[in-house]
């Protein structure tokens, strides 16, 4: 693998030729914000590095650069990063005649280092602020763990965004094909991490139920079940649908998604168990109450989950008195 490393102390070299990465955590679409918070630098960085120990001469590094076609080499002492010899340093050495001298005397040692556990949003901010193309990355033990480049980040983001667009396209197809369903059967698409429109399906279902003479308690139970199922799709899945089926004696609410599935069903039904990220928790979700809430308001509850599909079905029965009311009306 070819590794390129350049660390310039002269920042102005790059300022005129590099654009900032146009995404961030405060005004990018939700999916992007979540993505750059969730992905860590260690998920995108290049790990296999060519490095040299102290005592190596600048000449040897120059040869290494030519052979391996790289433009910078880290100098390490027992995995500890001491500095980086860049192409610029080599040119200076040739110019000023110290190419035979040792790297520790002429390497760039005033480096900006990143931590491998930082989210990539951090790296993006640093790339924009300092205009370097790459940063050395350290692990918890402060050892050199890799190098992260703008290209690493952009490639991974494009890969993730491709997946997102792909699933959006498939969802749109699914919605188009579900049109023309009778009034007794409503289907609402729910998108992954779409907090903007979250709650729409539940609100519509509540409106429909309110038009009948159902008891407020029953409507509330249906609203709770549909909202929690809807939020589960938003928070945990790749996207899916909420379906409401209306019958004379009950309403059935079905949350269906296209993966990635629930790994431990028993745990997921316990209060307090959650796989949500910190960011989602900060919005007030992911407290591990969703499925237990649905279960507690349902007269009948079922769940099946595979990595391709999770289906949760909640049935809410109407009481005898409610049924009488409904009969009178019709």
């Amino acid at each position: 693998m070819v590794i390129l490393i350049v660390v310039h102390l002269n920042i102005s070299v790059y300022t005129h030729c590099m654009q900032t990465i146009p995404i961030n955590t405060y005004n990018s679409p939700t999916i992007i914000s979540e993505l750059i918070m969730r992905l860590k630098i260690k998920d995108v960085m290049t790990r296999s590095l060519i490095s040299v120990p102290m005592g190596t001469t600048m000449r040897e590094v120059q040869k290494l650069m030519r052979e391996k076609r790289i433009t910078g080499v880290p100098v390490v002492d027992n995995k500890r990063l001491l500095g980086i010899v860049s192409m610029d340093d080599i040119i200076q050495a040739l110019d000023f005649g110290y190419i035979e001298e040792k790297v520790e005397d002429h390497m760039s040692s005033n480096l900006i280092l990143l931590d491998e556990d930082m989210p990539i949003s951090f790296a993006i901010k640093y790339f924009d602020r300092y205009r370097y193309h790459r940063f050395p990355v350290l692990n918890k033990e402060k050892e050199l763990a890799g190098i992260v480049t703008t290209r690493d980040i952009i490639t991974r983001l494009l890969w993730e965004i491709n997946n997102e667009v792909d699933s959006l396209e498939r969802e749109n197809l699914a919605v188009a094909s579900s049109e023309g369903i009778s009034l007794e059967h409503q289907v609402y698409p729910v998108r992954k991490l779409d907090f903007e429109n979250a709650g729409h399906a539940s609100t519509e279902i509540k409106k429909t139920l309110k038009q009948s003479d159902l008891f407020p308690r029953t409507i509330r139970r249906a609203a709770i079940a549909s909202y929690e199922l809807e939020m589960n799709i938003v928070v945990h899945s790749n996207g899916g649908t909420i379906t409401a089926q209306y019958f004379p004696d009950k309403v059935i609410i079905i949350g269906e998604d296209t993966g990635p599935g629930i790994e431990n069903l028993d745990e997921a039904l316990k209060q307090g168990y959650s796989t949500a990220t910190e960011w989602i928790r900060s919005l007030g979700f992911g407290a591990g109450m969703g499925l237990p809430n649905v279960k507690s308001v349902s007269d009948d509850f079922s769940i099946t989950s595979t990595p391709e599909k999770t289906i949760v079905k909640s049935t809410i029965l109407f009481s005898e008195n409610e049924k009488k009311n409904l009969d009178k009306r019709s």
């Binding site: 709650g199 539940s202 709770i224 007030g284 407290a287 809430n293």
Partner: protein, 113 residues
């Protein structure tokens, strides 16, 4: 019976949208977890929280809360106020924290014995 308007005046709350100001507030629930609010909030009540985004309005509307009191001077996203206007839910802001707002409101509602 204490109305939204009375609560707003007595607790010195900033009005972002008034909802139906003359409606009474019957109870309140204090939480930042929306599933918790969903499970335990009562119709006709107020929500005391720091969650200043649209999803709080969705939850309030679904279970019939008529007021959201945002604490610690939190200012919500613009789309939250718009959503609340549509649903006729009041959004009021307090400079105080959830605990303080809760006991003051409890006293006002006559729930402290």
């Amino acid at each position: 019976m204490v109305t939204i308007e009375q609560v707003q005046q007595k607790l010195n709350l900033k009005v972002l949208t008034m909802g139906e100001g003359s409606t009474p507030i019957s109870s309140a629930y204090t939480s930042d977890l929306l599933s918790d609010v969903m499970a335990n909030g009562e119709e006709g009540g107020a929500l005391i929280t720091i969650q200043g985004h649209k999803n709080s309005v969705a939850v309030a509307s679904l279970i019939g809360l008529n007021t959201i009191i945002l604490c610690n001077g939190r200012l919500p996203a613009d789309d939250m106020v718009e959503a609340a206007e549509e649903e006729s839910i009041a959004i009021l802001v307090s400079q105080e924290n959830q605990f303080t707002v809760s006991y003051k409101l409890a006293a006002l509602l006559g729930l402290c014995n």
